[in-house]
């Protein structure tokens, strides 16, 4: 069964090479991409079932595993436990839905001259990078996974290289590279302290390192992961860079890239530095992330920027659950991560539809959408309420679990966090309803700039650089929403609802995953083949 473990990485990488070969044939490229990502989804589901039934799987690539002579694993180690399997399944679902959407958008709105032949290969490499990060069994491999997905994301973010995207791309690349350098410094220090980078071995050896040194190591790694996950003092790059990218790219970035950072924080916190020495720092960072993020969202006019700020804000919930380092907190975090990947991606896809149909994503220009397209209103309403945490949707369930965990912890700081979570939840609801009343309910004539619109629906390539606006009435008819964009959006909404309907089994699974994550001995024995 462990032969399945490397497949989520191998399939997208090989498919990326294939799609580059057939770059002149977009149809074939699309078929290969869809087939590859469907295969990744199938493999991930198999891994999920297997890891739940049988237990953690470890694969030592090239046979460089632990030797009988007592030498630890030397090569690349890939590990699947329940947490990584769940992350793989959710990511694969989102990746598949978004690529469907991107293809649907490209077919309808893409220009023949656009060099989109690099879009799908880059997207596949991004998928491979995300999978490496979730499967990595040693810290350096995690670093490589980060780099793979970051390099791909640089290309996707600046695709078409219009003026705005180049400006944004440079700051994004610089921030990402600085975080990678800090990660590398952390790696060097960990290696100096423990003499290995294999996570299972580190879990054992770091226990002998002095507490002060251990906390310092954790702090360096936390800064690196915190930048990727957009935790408050390190989050200001995100709302600047995400909104300018094309809708499907923003959607997949918002859903997945920050969660890779959160996943790394979970692993480091529970496996490597399990004594919780920095819990107080994490709790304060979580509180500030929630509040500062959502206050930022209130001030925004552009829906994409507004959603980027809520994304930052809700990262705080996940960090909150991790920092409690209790089983219930971890369960809540795992469920919340799955919920948030799906709902945030869905919302960005819906904004892509809004932008396409109404010719703008800024609230100053939007209005009357509920009357113009009731279906679009419904598509926005469900994930928006879900994000705001309205019962009985999955956002509510995840938040309740986290609040319960905070109350169970009972310390003053935890109660502060509980209060902060409730306030953030209410403000999130306020923010998404503000979009609702402005973009959907009021008449377009009431919008301050309602008479203006963008020239063309934004496709992968930003063509609206010089000739920005035209009168709304002079706009070319965009027609109905293309099925290729509508179906994946609806499918993701259905997944979000399934997280609600099947909340019982999923919470059960999250609970088992949390139990496993909080018990590093199991991970260690699976990787180092210590008989239990």
């Amino acid at each position: 069964m462990s032969t399945l473990v490397p497949l989520p990485v191998l399939i997208p990488l090989l498919a990326a090479a294939l799609t580059l070969f057939v770059g002149r044939n977009p149809r074939l490229q699309q078929v290969i991409t869809l087939a590859a990502l469907s295969a990744v989804l199938a493999v991930s589901v198999a891994l999920l079932v297997y890891s739940d039934r049988v237990g953690t799987q470890a694969l030592h690539v090239g046979g460089w595993g632990p030797t009988d002579a007592g030498l630890g694993p030397l090569g690349i180690t890939l590990v699947v436990d329940r947490l990584s399997a769940l992350m793989l399944v959710v990511s694969a679902t989102v990746l598949l839905a978004v690529v469907f959407y991107a293809i649907g958008q490209g077919i309808r709105d893409g220009d023949e001259r656009q060099p989109v032949s690099i879009f799908l290969p880059t997207y596949l490499i991004l998928s491979a990078g995300v999978c490496i990060a979730f499967l990595a069994g040693d810290l350096f491999n995690l670093f490589v996974g980060f780099e793979v997905l970051l390099s791909a994301s640089f290309v996707l973010l600046t695709i078409g290289s219009s003026r705005e995207r180049v400006r944004v791309g440079i700051s994004y690349v610089m921030v990402s590279m600085v975080s990678s350098m800090i990660f590398l410094i952390g790696l060097a220090l960990v290696y100096a302290a423990a003499g290995t980078l294999n996570m299972a071995e580190l879990s054992v050896r770091l226990q002998d390192v002095e507490t002060g040194t251990r906390n310092a190591l954790f702090a360096v790694l936390l800064v690196a992961f915190g930048i990727k996950a957009a935790v408050f003092p390190l989050s200001s790059w995100l709302p600047d860079s995400y909104p300018t990218a094309p809708a499907p790219v923003t959607a997949v970035f918002a859903g997945l890239l920050t969660k890779v950072g959160v996943y790394a924080i979970i692993r480091a916190h529970s496996l490597l530095f399990a004594d919780g020495g920095l819990n107080a720092v994490l709790l304060v960072a979580a509180l500030l992330t929630m509040l500062v993020g959502i206050f930022g969202a209130i001030a925004q006019n552009d829906i994409k920027r507004l959603l980027s700020f809520t994304l930052v804000s809700h990262i705080g919930y996940m960090v909150f659950g991790v920092a409690l380092s209790s089983r219930l907190g971890m369960t809540g975090t795992i469920y919340y991560v799955a919920h948030h990947i799906v709902v945030q991606t869905t919302l960005f896809l819906v904004v892509g539809l809004i932008e396409r149909q109404a010719g703008a994503s800024t609230l100053r220009r939007l209005g009357g959408l509920a009357a113009a397209s009731p279906l679009l209103a419904l598509l926005y309403m469900i994930p928006a309420l879900n994000l705001g945490g309205i019962p009985p949707l999955s956002g509510f369930l995840g938040k309740v679990a986290l609040l319960e965990a905070g109350a169970e912890d009972g310390s003053v700081l935890a109660w502060l966090l509980v209060a902060g979570s409730v306030v953030t939840s209410l403000l999130t609801l306020y923010v998404v309803m503000r979009v609702w009343t402005k973009a959907f309910w009021r008449a377009r004539d009431d919008a301050p700039d309602g008479e203006l619109a963008d020239v063309a629906p934004s496709a992968l390539i930003d063509q609206t650089d010089d000739t920005d606006d035209i009168a709304f009435n002079d706009r070319d008819d965009v027609g109905r929403m293309p099925l290729g964009m509508l179906v994946p959006t609806m499918a993701l909404i259905a997944v979000g609802l399934a997280l609600t309907v099947a909340a019982g089994p999923i919470f059960g699974f999250s609970d088992r995953a949390a139990e496993e994550v909080l018990d590093p001995a199991r991970y260690v024995s699976a990787v180092l083949r210590i008989p239990t």
Partner: protein
């Protein structure tokens, strides 16, 4: 583990220069800062891998040393160098593209962010303007004089 002073001083110096350059708005300087920082980190990895002068091949000796040099640290440095090289090339292309657009090398601020920041001031000015208007046009100023209604027959003296 013991460490040599000279590499550590070099690493510290490179890091400091790298961070200083990164804080600039000039794109070429930022790239140079990034490269210096990455070289500093690579040196750090190298110095972490053990003392200099150990034989690289297992089972050989170099002078009187028999401990094999740590291959893992060198493998990691190689990977890091390759990654930095690729990203540096990409950043150079971006800088050139940015230069073609703006014919300057400095990174501008986020325009939407500035708009949102100015929003507060604009709203404040608007509110103050409204307040100023409101003082002039109070609907029913209390002047102490009898109202027009008071003069109507049947309501005299209602005040």
């Amino acid at each position: 583990m013991t460490a040599d002073l000279v590499p550590l001083v070099v690493i510290g110096g490179l890091t400091a220069c790298g961070v200083y350059l990164l804080l600039s708005r000039n794109l070429t300087r930022m790239l140079l800062g990034l490269l210096m920082l990455s070289n500093a980190v690579n040196l750090l990895l190298l110095s972490v891998g053990g003392k200099a002068g150990n034989p690289p091949v297992r089972g050989r000796t170099s002078g009187d040393r028999t401990t094999t040099a740590d291959p893992l640290a060198q493998g990691m440095i190689l990977t890091a160098i390759v990654i930095t090289l690729g990203v540096a090339a990409f950043v150079l292309a971006l800088i050139y593209r940015s230069y073609r657009f703006t014919t300057e090398e400095d990174l501008p601020n986020d325009p939407e962010d500035i708009r949102v920041a100015e929003l507060g001031e604009a709203e404040l000015a608007e509110a103050q303007r409204l307040d100023a208007d409101r003082v002039k046009t109070v609907a029913y100023p209390d002047t102490g004089e009898p109202d027009a209604l008071d003069a109507l027959p049947g309501t005299e003296g209602s005040r």
